[in-house]
């Protein structure tokens, strides 16, 4: 077995998931300085949308029955709608509030969503077998790689490239970039704030849905708390990448995934349970060396 290739695929696929989640957070931060801690709960909602709402122990597929061509756009749509709805109902009223108040509001929203899921689906984790064939390993470059890992890597690249195109080539993209640079100035120059912000939320929600599909295919389970861990890693990735920088979030997502896999592979057994402690030490070191993040955006630099 080719160990280097195996490590590469393990690292790139985990990094891909983190990168996509981080991108969802960075998008929103870019346009309205909000760290949306409810992002992880969007992921959980998208996963639970696959099954019939019920607190029975055995899950019955609902949307999950649909063929992929229907299921994927539908789930992306659900994610986008959920995010847009939360913007309309909650965050719109916090436009002029300071970022800390918005962050607290996002915590509260996440709490409401999580408890809503608990009320409808019960506290017991559910089994969902979505596309089990995708976990079948295929041989690539001497490594045995589940098809899903390849799909995750390719999907992340596609999402990143199309997002880059959207931002560079379309009007909404231009407006988003302008808003991310300097929101007040952009509005003075005629950028439509509501369209930009709603658009960012829709994209972020769709990214949450994409992460949800990958996670459920990989793990086969739905749990109301499943978004928490990935949200934490994604948030850290946006911080390391430089708050508000989209390429930074993607790069840092991949970086954290890679470091996590390398630590798991090379730490001695006794130290392996403390993998995350080493991972976060790396995060601290990285922030000490570059407090503004690896790819700091212009807005985060003091303008004196």
């Amino acid at each position: 077995m080719n160990n280097v290739a195996q490590l590469f695929f393990d690292a790139a696929s985990l990094g891909g998931i983190y990168a996509m989640a981080a991108l969802g957070i960075a998008l929103i931060f870019g346009v309205m300085n909000l760290v949306n801690f409810a992002h992880g709960d969007y992921i959980a909602v998208c996963v639970f949308a696959l099954i019939v709402p019920s607190s029975e122990a055995v899950a019955v597929m609902f949307l999950g029955h649909a063929p992929a061509v229907v299921l994927i756009p539908m789930l992306l749509g659900i994610g986008a709608l959920l995010a847009m709805a939360s913007e309309y109902v909650v965050f719109r009223h916090f436009r002029r509030a300071d970022p800390v108040a918005m962050m607290i509001a996002s915590f509260a929203l996440g709490f409401v969503i999580q408890n809503g899921l608990l009320a409808v689906y019960g506290g017991r984790p559910k089994a969902i077998s979505l596309w089990p064939d995708l976990n079948t390993p295929v041989a690539i470059a001497g490594a045995s790689v589940p098809l899903l890992q390849v799909i995750v890597i390719v999907a992340t690249l596609v999402v990143v490239c199309s997002l880059a195109l959207l931002l560079k080539k379309t009007r909404i993209g231009l407006e988003m970039r302008a808003a991310a640079e300097n929101f007040t100035m952009a509005r003075l120059l005629g950028v439509r704030a509501n369209v930009v912000i709603t658009g960012a939320f829709a994209l972020s929600g769709a990214l949450a849905a994409a992460v949800a599909m990958i996670m459920v295919t990989q793990t086969g389970v739905a749990d109301v708390r499943m978004g928490g861990q990935i949200m934490l890693v994604a948030f850290i990735a946006t911080v390391i990448g430089g708050m508000g920088s989209l390429p930074g979030a993607v790069a840092a997502g991949f970086l954290i995934g890679a470091v996590s896999v390398l630590l798991q592979a090379f730490l001695p057994l006794d130290a392996r349970p403390f993998r995350d402690a080493f991972l976060y030490t790396f995060v601290i070191v990285s922030l000490l060396l570059r407090p503004q993040g690896l790819f700091a955006s212009n807005t985060s630099k003091p303008r004196v």
């Binding site: 077995m1 160990n3 195996q6 490590l7 695929f9 393990d10 696929s13 985990l14 998931i17 983190y18 029975e56 122990a57 055995v58 899950a59 608990l118 019960g122 506290g123 017991r124 984790p125 559910k126 089994a127 969902i128 077998s129 089990p132 976990n135 079948t136 390993p137 045995s144 589940p146 890992q149 996670m215 990989q218 793990t219 086969g220 389970v221 739905a222 749990d223 109301v224 708390r225 499943m226 928490g228 861990q229 990935i230 896999v261 798991q264 592979a265 057994l269 392996r272 349970p273 993998r275 995350d276």
Partner: protein, 389 residues
């Protein structure tokens, strides 16, 4: 008129002490939040036993009533729920399934000198070692489950090599692996490798890479985890083409999660009793039927059973002590050696308020169908120093 009034007063006067004379069991349990799914089945089972005792004339000639307080799956709320129930006159406290969430309420009971029982905690701390001398758990220690898997797989499946995959998220998992680590080499097996992961990990690809890098696939993989992480690990292990027999603790019992790995085979769980209708002991199936009658569905996992057992054992001890006073009931409980229950014999001592050995039913999942394939009792109890590792 005067006579009627005084007659009423006498009747009321008589009625009140009868009410106060009931024995009260307080349930400080999660009725909301994520832990609810685990606490409710065992609580239901406890009530089934309470109703049986009441129907048969009660305990010490008194009826048992129960009061409840919601811990909301929160450790702080657990302490206040415990105190509230004690204020309301609880004679004994039943607390949450998990040690971390039940302990605050159990400590409140301990400080008042009344008995507390964990619904299904399997960590040695849920008893003398963590709470105090009047605290008990009716379940079987996690280490016993791991040791049972080790000895059974060697004796009946001819396992020689084992791989240990530990989910370091909670203490329960470590207990399972500790038991396996103690028994497997003792019985002559060879642990060829080990690795750790976290329940919430999005992927265990690197752990699988390590297993696949072994010169030979291990005979058994001891997976010390719980749902959802365990279901996710099994899905990824099988998808990677690893066909070793996968051994687990009781926490993954239940067929509700099997959808995560279609057509799963070679997956083994030790349990206190079978929920699948094939337990060799008639009492177990009679309980399953009673449970279905009470709730409309059969138990989703074997974690309902300890609730029934704990009321059964406590009531017997109260009967023998002739009082509900904590230390006297504790003394009677500690005298129990192989006390028969519907789910097998149970023992307590002044060192350990847990089961350090027990006959367990072995459930194997073949083509996604769980069934009892054997039963096993470890040849020697897990020593206290192993339990405290």
């Amino acid at each position: 008129m005067k006579t009627i009034l005084s007659a009423t007063a006498v009747a009321l006067g008589l009625a009140a002490p009868v009410m106060a004379d009931d024995i009260t069991i307080g349930f400080a349990i999660a009725q909301s939040g994520w832990l609810e799914a685990y606490d409710t089945p065992a609580t239901t089972a406890a009530r089934i036993r309470i109703e049986e005792i009441n129907a048969a004339g009660g305990l010490l000639g008194r009826q048992i009533k129960w009061i409840e307080a919601d811990t909301k799956s929160d450790q702080q709320q657990s302490a206040s729920a415990g105190l509230q129930l004690i204020d309301e006159g609880a004679d004994m406290l039943v607390v949450s399934c998990d040690y971390d969430f039940g302990a605050p309420a159990a400590l409140a009971a301990e400080s008042e000198g009344i008995n507390s029982f964990f619904l299904c905690a399997e960590d040695v701390k849920a008893g003398i070692q963590g709470v105090g001398p009047n605290s008990f758990s009716a379940s079987v220690l996690a280490a016993v489950q791991g040791a049972t898997m080790a000895e059974w797989s060697m004796a009946e499946r001819d396992a020689k090599t084992g791989y240990v995959l530990l989910d370091t998220t909670i203490e329960y998992n470590k207990g399972i692996c500790t038991g396996f680590d103690w028994m497997f080499p003792t019985a002559g097996g060879d642990i060829v490798g080990r690795d750790t992961f976290k329940n919430g990990d999005a992927s265990i690809a690197s752990q699988i890479t390590r297993i696949k890098a072994l010169p030979q696939e291990p005979d058994v993989i001891m997976l010390c985890s719980y749902i959802p992480g365990a279901a996710s690990a099994v899905r990824q292990i099988r998808a990677a083409g690893i066909n070793s027999l996968i051994l687990n603790g009781s926490a993954v019992d239940g067929s509700y999660w099997l959808g995560a790995t279609p057509d799963l085979s070679g997956f083994v769980v030790p349990v206190q009793g079978s929920i699948y209708g094939d337990d060799p002991r008639a009492d177990v199936e009679a309980f399953n039927v009673a449970y279905e009658k009470a709730t409309g569905a059969r138990p989703a996992s074997s974690y309902a059973y300890p609730g029934y057992v704990l009321i059964d054992l406590w009531a017997k001890a109260v009967e023998r002590a002739g009082t509900v006073e904590g230390s006297e009931v504790t003394a009677e409980l500690e005298k129990m050696t192989d006390e028969p229950t519907a789910f097998g014999p149970r023992s307590f001592s002044d060192e350990l308020h847990h089961q350090n050995a027990a006959e367990m039913q072995i459930i194997e999942i073949t083509n996604a169908k769980p069934a009892v394939v054997s039963k096993w009792a470890i040849s020697k109890p897990v020593p206290l120093d192993v339990l405290l590792r």
